[in-house]
C-alpha cells in the first residue's frame, strides 16, 4: 500500500475548500447562547455560541461599531454569517455579520403596547411638560449609588455650575425590584425642595434598562411635581421614562449638562451685562454732555450781549428820541412861556393898564367932545331952520312968489306970437317949419301960411 502523507496545512486547506464551497455554510442563520464573550480593543468580538448539545467558536470583526448592545455571556442571540475554517488553529468557526438579541420580541411588544396606552392617556403631552429651571439650587438624582451615572452627574455639575447642590436618592436600577425602588425614591424626593430631578442610569442591555419601561415608573415620573430629566443610557432609542419625563437626556452626563447652566458662559454673561451697563450709562452721560455742550455753545451763553445788544440799542434809541422830543417839547413850550413871560403884560402890567386907561380916557373925552359938537351943530342947524322965514313968515314968501308969478305971466303974454298974428301978421311954413327968409324959398315950393284964425296953402311963383 502506497501511503502518501499530506501535511496538516494541506488537510486543513482541503477541509477549508470543502466547507468554503458549501453554499449552506456560506450564508447561515444560527441561534444560541453566548459564552466566553471577549470584546477586544480592536473592536473585534470573540465568543462561543452554544446550546445544550454543542458549541461553536465565533468572531465578529468591528463588532464595537456594528452592535447596538453590549454582548454578554448567557445572552441569547440570533447570528447571521458564514462558517469558515481558521487555518492557523485548525478550527472551523462562525464569522458573524449580524448579531441580534433573541427573545426580545415579547419585551418589544410590551414596550409598544405600554407606550401606546400611556400616549393615549396623554402622559406624553407637551402641555404636561414642566420647564427645567435655568439656575437650579438643588438637584435630586435617582440612580445607583455605585454606578458611573452619579459620578458623571456630580462631576459635570461641579464643572459647569458648582453653585448647585446634588442630592442622591440611591436606587436599584436593574433587576426585579428596580422599578418599585425607583418609584419609592421619586415620591420620597418630593419632600426635599428640589428644583430638578434626574432619574436614570448608564447604558445597559434592554433587560437591564427595563425598569425604565415599567408603567409604575412612568406614572411616578408623570405625577412628580419636580421637573424630571430622564437620563437612561442609549441602548434603544427611547424608554417609556424618556417619553414621560419633562426632558430627555441621552446619558447621565447629558442630563447634568441640561440641568445646569454653564458657569463660564454665565460669568461671561454677567461680565457682558456689566460692560453693557457701563457703556450704556457712559453713552447716556456722553449724550447728555454733548447736548449740554451744544446748548452752551449757543450764542445766548457764549455771547449773551449779542442777544440783548440790539434790544439795548433799540432801547437807547427810544430813550434818545424820548429825551429829544421831551426836550424839544419843553424848549418849545419854554420859549412860548418866555415870550409870554417877557411880554409887557407880565413885566409891566400897570403900564399897560395905565396906557390903556389913558387911551380910554382920550377916547372917552374925544367921544364926549365930538358928541357935544355934533349935538351943538345940529342944534344950531335946527335953530337956523327954525328961524328961517319959511317957519317965521310963510305968508310973505307966498306973496312974493305970487307977485313974481304975475309979473312973469305978463311978460310971457307980450311975447306970445299969436298976439302978433292978431295984429295981422302971418307965419310962412314949409312942412311945419317957419320960413324967416325969402331966400329959403324957390319957385314951386308949397307954402303953408298961418293966420290967426287958420291956415292957407299957397305956391311960390
Amino acid at each position: 500500500m502506497d501511503e502518501t502523507y499530506i501535511t496538516v496545512s494541506e488537510v486543513t486547506d482541503y477541509i477549508g475548500e470543502i466547507i468554503g464551497s458549501d453554499l449552506n455554510l456560506r450564508h447561515i442563520f444560527i441561534k444560541g447562547e453566548l459564552s466566553n464573550v471577549r470584546l477586544y480593543p480592536s473592536g473585534h468580538l470573540y465568543f462561543t455560541l452554544k446550546d445544550d448539545g454543542s458549541q461553536i467558536k465565533g468572531v465578529m470583526f468591528g463588532a464595537r461599531y456594528k452592535l447596538n448592545f453590549r454582548p454578554k455571556d448567557g445572552m441569547k442571540v440570533l447570528i447571521e454569517g458564514k462558517i469558515e475554517v481558521y487555518k492557523k488553529n485548525g478550527l472551523y468557526q462562525l464569522y458573524a455579520n449580524k448579531i441580534s438579541r433573541d427573545g426580545l420580541g415579547d419585551l418589544h411588544q410590551r414596550y409598544l403596547e405600554l407606550k401606546e396606552k400611556l400616549d393615549k392617556e396623554g402622559l406624553f403631552d407637551e402641555s404636561h411638560k414642566k420647564k427645567i429651571p435655568n439656575f437650579p439650587k438643588r438637584i435630586g438624582v435617582i440612580t445607583a449609588q455605585n454606578g458611573a451615572a452619579i459620578r458623571d452627574i456630580i462631576t459635570t455639575i461641579e464643572r459647569r455650575w458648582p453653585l448647585c447642590e446634588v442630592i442622591l436618592f440611591p436606587s436599584l436600577v436593574q433587576g426585579d425590584k428596580a422599578a418599585e425602588n425607583i418609584v419609592y425614591q421619586i415620591k420620597r424626593s418630593e419632600g426635599f425642595d428640589l428644583d430638578t430631578l434626574i432619574v436614570g442610569r448608564g447604558g445597559g442591555s434592554i433587560e437591564d434598562l427595563w425598569s425604565f419601561n415599567e408603567e409604575i415608573v412612568a406614572r411616578a415620573i408623570y405625577d412628580c411635581n419636580t421637573p424630571v430629566i430622564s437620563a437612561v443610557g442609549h441602548e434603544i432609542d427611547f424608554t417609556i421614562a424618556d417619553f414621560v419625563a419633562d426632558l430627555r437626556a441621552a446619558t447621565p452626563t447629558a442630563a447634568a449638562e441640561i440641568a445646569v447652566p454653564p458657569y463660564g458662559e454665565i460669568k461671561n454673561g454677567v461680565n457682558q451685562l456689566k460692560l453693557r451697563a457701563n457703556l450704556a450709562i457712559d453713552k447716556q452721560f456722553e449724550d447728555n454732555k454733548s447736548r449740554l455742550d451744544n446748548l452752551l455753545s449757543k450764542k445766548i451763553f457764549t455771547n449773551p450781549c449779542e442777544i440783548y445788544a440790539p434790544k439795548e440799542m433799540m432801547l437807547d434809541n427810544l430813550l434818545n428820541r424820548l429825551e429829544h422830543s421831551s426836550k424839544s417839547l419843553i424848549m418849545k413850550n419854554e420859549s412860548r412861556l418866555n415870550i409870554v413871560k417877557n411880554s409887557n403884560v407880565f413885566k409891566n402890567p400897570l403900564e399897560i393898564i395905565e396906557h390903556k386907561q389913558s387911551v380910554l380916557d382920550t377916547l372917552v373925552s374925544s367921544l364926549k367932545y365930538s358928541s357935544n359938537a355934533l349935538v351943538m351943530k345940529n342944534e344950531s342947524r335946527l335953530d337956523l331952520v327954525k328961524n328961517s322965514s319959511v317957519f317965521k313968515n310963510p305968508d310973505l314968501i307966498i306973496k312974493d312968489k305970487r307977485e313974481n308969478y304975475l309979473l312973469q305971466l305978463s311978460k310971457l303974454e307980450i311975447l306970445n306970437p299969436l298976439n302978433t298974428l292978431k295984429r295981422g301978421y302971418t307965419l310962412a311954413k314949409i312942412e311945419g317949419k317957419v320960413i324967416s327968409s325969402s331966400k329959403d324959398l324957390k319957385s314951386g315950393d308949397e307954402l303953408e301960411v298961418e293966420f290967426e284964425d287958420g291956415n292957407v296953402n299957397t305956391k311960390v311963383i
Binding site: T155, P162, I167, K267, V270
Partner: protein
C-alpha cells in the same frame, strides 16, 4: 442693594432688563443713574455668588432618611 434672598436667576433677569432699558437710552438721566447703581449691585451680587461657588455639595439620602455627604471617590 440686591436682595440676598432673591435667586441668582431673578437677579440676572433684572440685570438684563435694566441693561436693556439703559441701552435703549430713553430713561431720564437721574433715573438712569439709579438704574445703573442697581445694575452694579446686581452684578456684584451675581459675581459674589459665582465667586463663592465651592465644589458642588453632594449628599445622599440614606434609607433611614439620614442625609450625609456623598463622596464620589
Amino acid at each position: 442693594m440686591a436682595d440676598e434672598n432673591v435667586s441668582f436667576e431673578d437677579n440676572l433677569k433684572e440685570l438684563e432688563e435694566i441693561v436693556a432699558r439703559l441701552e435703549k437710552g430713553d430713561v431720564p438721566l437721574d433715573n438712569a443713574i439709579e438704574e445703573f447703581k442697581k445694575a452694579m449691585d446686581l452684578v456684584k451680587s451675581c459675581d459674589d455668588k459665582l465667586k463663592n461657588a465651592q465644589d458642588t455639595i453632594a449628599k445622599i439620602v440614606k434609607d433611614n432618611g439620614e442625609i450625609v455627604d456623598f463622596d464620589i471617590e
